[in-house]
């Protein structure tokens, strides 16, 4: 248990100054959104697709007021509720896509780097091709292909978008894990493992895995920020998640586009602000983690040396 605490505290104990502040601010912002996501049913005054309360229909495009703190939009939805519910969608999509990426990219990178040879070459080629492709375009294509292909249900939109995002980010996980594996497998401790009779599977799982996944959290958080933007972009284009399925900031922004010309600012401002804040928060966490985990970026904390006065008899 103490080990876990120590590991969790490491980013704070080993950073100083700006890096630590970045990390703290980032974590606070992200935490706010995560809380919104988890407790959305409690925090949001209305449901994300609610258009009436107590039998009274909402007023279309009502300016912020007591009942609707952030106002309503042209589909009669409450903007505050949709912004809070949007956090849930965003976090769902991001977590799901990262999980998929880790489960696909890390083992693939390990195997590819450990065995090398033609398998490595082919995987490398595929991943490089995916990586070289404009990522947003790729996401659009996959979102197109996957929408309505998955078994319908409230979650299918989220799953489709998560899968499309995973396709974009898997190459990064693969690349990093594969490259660290290639260098780590030359280490003496891997040969030592072979010398005690460990099989390839054991070597990968118990000797290489722990040493090559260390940079994955950093990629994860940095990608999460990027994923929020891509998700919003897809929603803005009307792909992926529909308004009635879940609240999604990008899609709301799209609808707010028409309002902007007529001076209705509240429909666009709040979802937009949410995107900016969450992206900033995640980026700060990612950079902060990078400073602590990545040894090339880490600077040792230097403390001033105070030399004691010399002792008389020396």
């Amino acid at each position: 248990m103490r080990k876990v605490f120590k590991a969790l505290a490491k980013p704070f104990t080993e950073t100083a100054g700006l890096a630590r502040w970045m990390l703290v601010i980032g974590i606070v912002i992200t935490a706010v959104f995560v809380i919104c996501a988890i407790f959305a049913p409690l925090l949001a005054p209305y449901g994300f697709d609610q258009t009436s309360a107590d039998g009274v229909q909402f007023v279309k495009r009502e300016a912020p007021s007591g009942d609707h703190v952030f106002g309503t939009d042209r589909l009669l939805f409450d903007v505050l509720s949709r912004t809070i519910w949007g956090a849930r969608t965003a976090i769902e999509v991001v977590v799901l896509s990262i999980v998929i990426c880790v489960f696909v990219g890390v083992p693939m990178g390990l195997i590819s780097g450990y065995y090398g040879g033609w398998l490595d070459r082919i995987l490398l080629l595929i991943m490089d091709a995916l990586f070289a492709f404009p990522s947003f375009l790729l996401a659009i294509v996959f979102a197109f292909l996957l929408t309505n292909k998955l078994p319908s249900g409230g979650f299918s939109g989220v799953l489709a978008v998560s899968l499309s995002l995973s396709v974009i980010y898997v190459p990064q996980y693969y690349r990093v894990v594969r490259n660290t594996t290639v260098s780590a497998k030359e280490a003496t401790y891997v040969e030592a493992a072979r010398a005690i009779g460990a099989s390839d599977f054991v070597i990968m799982r118990r000797y290489l895995f722990g040493n090559v996944v260390q940079s994955v959290p950093v990629i994860g958080t940095l990608n999460a920020a990027d994923a929020i933007l891509t998700l919003a972009g897809l929603g803005f284009l009307g792909l992926g998640i529909q308004s009635t399925e879940a609240a999604e900031w990008g899609h709301d922004l799209n609808r707010a586009l028409a309002d902007a010309g007529s001076g209705i600012w509240w429909t666009g401002l709040y979802p937009g602000l949410a995107i900016v804040l969450l992206v900033t928060g995640l980026t700060l966490v990612g950079e902060g983690l990078n400073e602590t985990i990545n040894p090339t970026l880490r600077r040792r904390r230097l403390l001033p040396v105070v030399m004691t006065p010399r002792e008389g008899d020396r």
Partner: protein
């Protein structure tokens, strides 16, 4: 490469090239200051080689780098180092930089990491000569470089080669040639043979041995190998936990070690004449909080009560040199009962190096 063996000349012209007085180098860490070098004094005469031995973690390399001004950030040094009549520790960084290479040279353990793989050998020489002698013509540079290479046994045909085209031993010779081409009066060699093969190591030791004849350079040779000290050095300084505990002529110190650490270090060395295994129990202390009194007392087989409480006094050794150990004296300063053998706790492997 056969060089007839001659007793190394002991140059004693009185005026030392470099003389360190009470030098300290401390590093700051979160746990407190590491006292890597803690009050070290020595003199080095022109053309003389001083061997610096000790276990790892005793501050040997730090001392070498401290003298050169090549310390990492966060290190602090004080004391005095007089080089040819100038105090260099208090010097401005710029002046110190000008001195390095020109007057102070350094030879490192791993030569390949110190050579730029994209630069020819000729470029390396050109750059280092030009840095300190901007007016040098190409021909003059070439002549000087070839002369330095020649003395290291590197044929002139290799002048335009790249570092990777050389073998390990050749690279180390190259490093030595580069360090010596400016004819510095003082060179620090930090474990120059550790990465090399046995036979090549012996060749390099021979080259270092010939240095004083060819270049009249004073050399501080940092090594953990007492055999190399015996072979290549005039004098030896034995370092333990940031202090030089004994120094003097190699023959005197090695044949008649006065400090128990020197004696035990020599005894633990495995040589061709080894008939039994000896070792020093325990490990060098944590230099953030070194033991009170003599720093060697927890591992010392001859420790007395006084050793654990009072810092030993530096004395002149019988037969020249200096030593700091209560066994040697001064006896009048030992408090009554201080000569009782010290009760040592059993040193477990838990504290071992």
């Amino acid at each position: 490469m056969s060089v007839e063996f001659v007793e190394p000349p002991y140059v004693d012209s009185g005026e030392p090239v470099i003389s360190a007085r009470d030098v300290r180098v401390w590093y700051g860490t979160t746990r407190g200051a590491i006292r890597a070098v803690d009050g070290v004094s020595f003199d080095l005469a022109p053309g003389e080689t001083l061997g610096l031995v000790g276990e790892s973690g005793c501050g040997k390399s730090t001392l070498g780098r401290g003298l050169m001004g090549l310390l990492p950030q966060g290190a602090k040094r004080d004391g005095e180092v007089w080089f040819k009549g100038r105090e260099i520790l208090g010097m401005k960084a710029k002046d110190n930089y000008r001195l390095r290479g020109h007057e102070l040279g350094m030879i490192f353990q791993e030569p390949l990491t110190r050579l730029n793989p994209l630069m020819r050998i000729s470029d390396h020489f050109e750059e280092s000569i030009k840095q300190h002698d901007p007016g040098a013509t190409k021909d003059a540079i070439r002549a000087r470089a070839l002369e330095a290479l020649r003395l290291m046994g590197i044929p002139p045909t290799r002048y335009r080669s790249y570092p990777h085209e050389f073998s390990g031993g050749m690279r180390q010779r190259l490093m030595i040639a580069l360090a010596l081409v400016l004819r510095p009066s003082f060179v620090v060699a930090d474990e120059p043979t550790t990465a090399l093969d046995v036979l090549v190591e012996a060749q390099i030791v021979q080259i270092l041995n010939d240095l004083r004849r060819n270049f009249h350079t004073s050399l501080l040779l940092i090594t953990h190998n007492v055999g190399i000290v015996a072979e290549a050095c005039d004098r030896v300084a034995v370092m333990y936990a940031g202090r030089i505990v004994e120094q003097g002529r190699v023959t005197d110190v090695f044949e008649n070690p006065q400090h128990p650490y020197t004696r035990e270090l020599l005894r633990s060395t495995i040589s061709l004449n080894t008939t039994g295994l000896n070792f020093i129990p325990g490990s060098p202390p944590d230099l953030v909080d070194p033991p009170d009194g003599c720093r060697f007392h927890p591992r010392c087989p001859d420790a007395m009560a006084v050793c654990a409480t009072k810092n030993p006094v530096t004395l002149d050794r019988v037969g020249g040199g200096r030593v700091e150990c209560w066994l040697v004296g001064p006896h009048e300063q030992i408090p009554p009962g201080g000569t009782q053998p010290l009760k040592q706790e059993e040193l477990a492997v838990a504290d071992e190096a």
